[in-house]
């Protein structure tokens, strides 16, 4: 099972003077259960790409298949929307129901669940995003804090029990605790349900720590795709596309320049910590 993009291309306003090639001949394969980070400068095509994954957008050319089914077919598109859950950027602006419970239950009800069953699923989803149904289900989404609203919005997508969970900059605007909560939530959710996570983010350190695969977009093209280790070991490539390098990787690079031998790739604080502890004789803590 996988999502496969083949020569996927999307052109906005094709044929007009303002025509813009947002993504250009992208080939990408995302297997069920993987955790992908999608990175790239503003305007590189990240949001356009992910909106193809659940058939919210149609390719101008090329194709996209979810679990082998081409989304050119209308029936497959409907199926894909159940399998691929997409959390938009700033999703809290799209909350609309009068209570948190109704908002989260909207997805499952829309997919034909009974009200009772939909509420049950919604409550489970609340628990998985760390909200207490007792405290929160009857409240209006609008009176919650920013971080809570974000979690309600994510719960609304989790409630459709997607096999692939796609999130467009889910941590933007949150404080460090809020960011960490979301990241841990995605990690736990994946461990528990086995769903794939595909996350757009500008934080290289978060991607380095949480994802296992990375796709780098640059000016609409897939610049690089592979394991986290592969992508973050080519720091020059990241720099060329205007992206950050994880801090631990910069430190590793500088230590190497000082003649210190580093026998592995290091791009997270934890890896650096392990390396130094081993190298200095592992004074154990």
């Amino acid at each position: 099972m996988s999502i496969v993009a083949e020569k996927l291309t999307h052109i906005y306003l094709e044929g007009s003077p303002n025509e813009s090639v947002a993504i250009d001949s992208i080939d990408l394969k995302i297997e069920a259960g993987e955790f992908w980070g999608i990175i790239g400068h503003t305007g590189s095509g990240k949001s356009t790409l992910v909106q193809h994954l659940n058939a919210l957008m149609q390719p101008t050319s090329g194709r996209i298949c979810v679990d082998g089914d081409d989304l050119k077919d209308k029936k497959n598109r409907r199926e894909a929307r159940k399998k691929v859950g997409l959390v938009f950027q700033y999703p809290e602006y799209q909350l609309f129901e009068e209570t948190v419970l109704k908002d989260i239950a909207y997805g499952p009800m829309n997919m034909g669940e009974s009200t009772e069953k939909a509420y049950e699923i919604a409550r489970e989803a609340m628990v998985s995003v760390g909200l207490s149904p007792d405290e929160i289900e009857g409240r209006s989404p609008f009176e919650l804090s920013g971080g809570q609203k974000r979690r309600v919005a994510i719960a609304g997508i989790i409630a459709i029990r997607p096999r692939y969970l796609v999130l467009d900059e889910p941590m933007a605007g949150l404080d460090p605790r809020g960011r960490k909560d979301i990241l841990n939530l995605l990690k736990t959710l994946r461990e528990k349900t086995g769903c794939a996570v595909i996350m757009i983010s500008h934080s290289m350190d978060d991607i380095a720590q949480f994802a296992d695969h990375v796709a780098v977009l640059n000016e609409g093209k897939l610049y690089k795709a592979g394991s986290v280790a592969e992508v973050f070991s080519d720091m020059e490539a990241l720099r060329r596309t205007g992206l950050d390098i994880p801090q631990a990787a910069i430190l590793a690079e500088r230590l190497k320049k000082q003649g210190i031998e580093i026998d592995r790739s290091i791009y997270t604080v934890e890896q650096m910590l392990d390396f130094i502890t081993e190298k200095t004789g592992g004074v154990s803590g």
Binding site: G40, G146, H202, D205, G242, P246, Q247, L255, V269, I276
Partner: protein
């Protein structure tokens, strides 16, 4: 050097005393007895959880909001006195999070000139301010472009140029880097640093990125409407800090430092920058 340090400590541009503020009567205060000075020529970072009151505090610094009780003075001018409002807004410029909401016209240079025009500045003077402000943010070549065709980082630079054209003495960046990509963020930080070192601009930088707070002279931590910590980045992010209690986190290198210290490895307890860790680690690793 000594003089500069002296100035930094003594000359307060913004004096906030016992400031309390409510959006609605009877609620718990959003700002609760806050006292703070913003000093001439410093970069002051304000960090704190979502809803801790950072934006509310910032809006008091240029009279967008007025105290419920307590006082806010800019160069001695009380914000409660309406006669001061215009000069205060001229002295203290503010850049917000979303670049799209700050662009008002359809040509970059007009947008930058919009502020000074409202202040009644003569046309010649406006033109020269527009061109020098665009140069300061390295956007001169886009002067005739349409703002909506620019990237997020470029738009934010135009918004900053628009503020600079009003020749403020204090620049407030309210999570101005939040919606930007790494390069856009770095651009905005570099501009703030450059204005500070080259023109002695006082900068107040509100941010959710602890790595950004590291470049400040001083960091203030807000929590539920109160200031709970003030100090240099080195003291606020030092070993054994309780910063996580306030929904914040240590910068990555400080996290590495603490991990190493816990393993019994000798690292200065206030090391914060990659260079500092490199310097401390090199001799240890070369030995082995």
């Amino acid at each position: 050097m000594g003089d500069l340090l002296y100035n930094k400590q003594v000359m307060a541009r913004i004096e906030i005393k016992n400031l309390t503020y409510f959006y609605a009567d009877g609620e718990t205060p959003v700002l609760d007895d806050v006292s703070l000075n913003v000093n001439e020529g410093e970069i002051l970072a304000i960090v704190g959880h979502n809803g801790s009151g950072k934006s509310t505090l910032a809006k008091h610094m240029n009279a967008l909001l007025l105290p419920y009780s307590g006082t806010v003075k800019i160069d001695g001018m009380d914000t409660l006195n309406e006669e001061n409002t215009l000069s205060i807004r001229q002295k203290v410029g503010m850049v917000f999070q979303n670049p799209d909401n700050q662009i008002v016209t359809t040509v970059v240079e007009e947008d930058v000139g919009f502020g000074p025009e409202n202040l009644g500045i003569p046309t010649d003077e406006i033109l020269s301010r527009v061109s020098s402000s665009l140069e300061a943010v390295r956007m001169s070549e886009f002067a005739k472009n349409a703002p909506h065709m620019l990237s997020g980082g470029q738009k934010q630079r135009v918004a900053i140029a628009g503020i600079l054209a009003m020749m403020p003495e204090v620049l407030i960046l309210d999570e101005a880097t939040a919606m930007l990509d790494p390069k856009g963020r770095q651009d905005v930080l570099n501009i703030a640093k450059k204005l500070n070192t080259e023109s002695n601009m006082t900068v107040v930088m509100i941010t959710q990125y602890m790595e950004e707070a590291v470049i400040a002279d001083r960091v203030i931590v807000m929590h539920e409407g109160k200031i709970v910590k003030t100090g240099t980045p080195k003291t606020v992010f030092a070993y054994d800090s309780d910063i996580e209690k306030y929904s914040l986190e240590l910068p990555h290198m400080a996290r590495l430092r603490d991990g190493l210290i816990e393993k019994g490895i000798e690292i200065p307890h206030d090391a914060l920058l990659i260079e500092e860790l490199e310097k401390a680690l090199c001799p240890l690793l070369q030995k082995n």
